[in-house]
Symmetry: C2
């Protein structure tokens, strides 16, 4: 490989993040509004160019923090998007990441970002995005269906107590299928994915629901 071969030059790396949360049972993704050309005014996935002295995962985290303020979350690389013309100014290869944050953190982020242009969008109602981000986001939603099978991601969505109907709703929302309530409970409890806290929570006009926490000892196994 001759380094001065022009064919090797002018390739840049994009790191692109799809950050999801569940808000009242609705899966949402975090988008930011561009304030520069190209794609001025378009909504976009938070990301940017990789520095030549950082790991791609670090670049993804840095860009996420710079663009949205979110930090301390796990990102998982899931795919590369490399169409030669996907970026108008220069050959840019996008390395795409997925992350998940819990509802409360999402809420805080939303509050603190009131003045800037970032917001949570229902994944079933996504506007036209900059670059090839619609395609990247679709890939992320698919990948999410696989990731939800491990408890790691669930810990991010449910760091504290939750009810089984809430958990079931998240599964159904992401996987786009529905489960029998009794069988869902049975599986979660019998397989020790969740632990009964012996506490309950009341909602208006309903029977109180039991509160559970995730069993942190179980990892990387397929849940369903």
């Amino acid at each position: 490989m001759r380094l001065n071969n022009p064919l090797y030059k002018n390739i840049g790396i994009h790191v692109v993040n799809s950050i999801f949360t569940v808000d009242k049972g609705v899966m949402k993704v975090l988008l930011i509004q561009r304030t520069n050309e190209p794609y001025y005014g378009y909504w976009a996935l938070p990301g940017g160019g990789l520095y030549n002295n950082e790991l791609v995962i670090d670049g993804a985290k840095r860009e996420l923090k710079e663009k949205t303020g979110i930090e301390d979350i796990d990102l998982k690389m899931y795919k590369i998007f490399d169409r030669v013309d996907r970026s108008p100014l220069k050959r840019m290869i996008a390395i795409a990441f997925i992350g998940v944050v819990d509802i409360n953190k999402a809420q805080i982020i939303k509050e603190t970002n009131k003045t800037s242009s970032s917001d949570w969008f229902d994944i079933n109602n996504i506007p036209e995005l900059a670059y090839d981000y619609n395609e990247i986001l679709e890939g992320a939603i698919e990948e999410l269906k696989t990731m939800i099978q491990s408890t790691d991601i669930l810990k991010s969505l449910f760091p504290k107590e939750f009810t089984l109907p809430e958990l079931q709703q998240v599964f159904e929302s992401i996987l786009n299928i529905s489960f029998d309530r009794r069988n869902f409970r049975k599986k979660m409890i019998n397989s020790n994915y969740v632990i009964d806290t012996n506490k309950t929570i009341n909602y208006k006009g309903k029977k109180p629901a039991k509160l559970y926490i995730l069993n942190r000892k179980i990892n990387n196994k397929s849940i369903l």
Copy 2:
């Protein structure tokens, strides 16, 4: 992103291939011997620099053909290796691919490459490789365990007729576990992954074995 920011410059993309075959029940990987610095004389995975006008998968295929003569095989991207110092001359991010070729093709390649320095190595007996290729290869072997679950890869290893003991040996070799012969047969036949050809093959001093072919209609399902 300001394109003239020096932090965005001088990043190159490596495409790196781990090509596997099964030779008499032994999993092997294709290595080439380097004839240039750095790592002169070391064995290496076949690969090289991505051109700025090609897709990464096309770059991987091009490099594979240039370095080993192999073409027309499926490559699957499985991971990125991005340590900042993984290449001594320039920041190079490696995009790693896996491919599988059948025994006969592997044999032909070995024959036609007699004068050049490429060879098949037992995956349990790998020399010290150039760059971080030992790490990349280990990752590929792990990934192979997942890939073997789909029939796509099996079609590459068994394009023609085979016996069930042969198939079982490949599974056991890759996954490093053993199966009960009766249960293995049952699963393969009952689930229609294989089709009986009503032919048999004789080995010396053994009962003739039935020959099967893969059912090409079944795809992307988990086999075991």
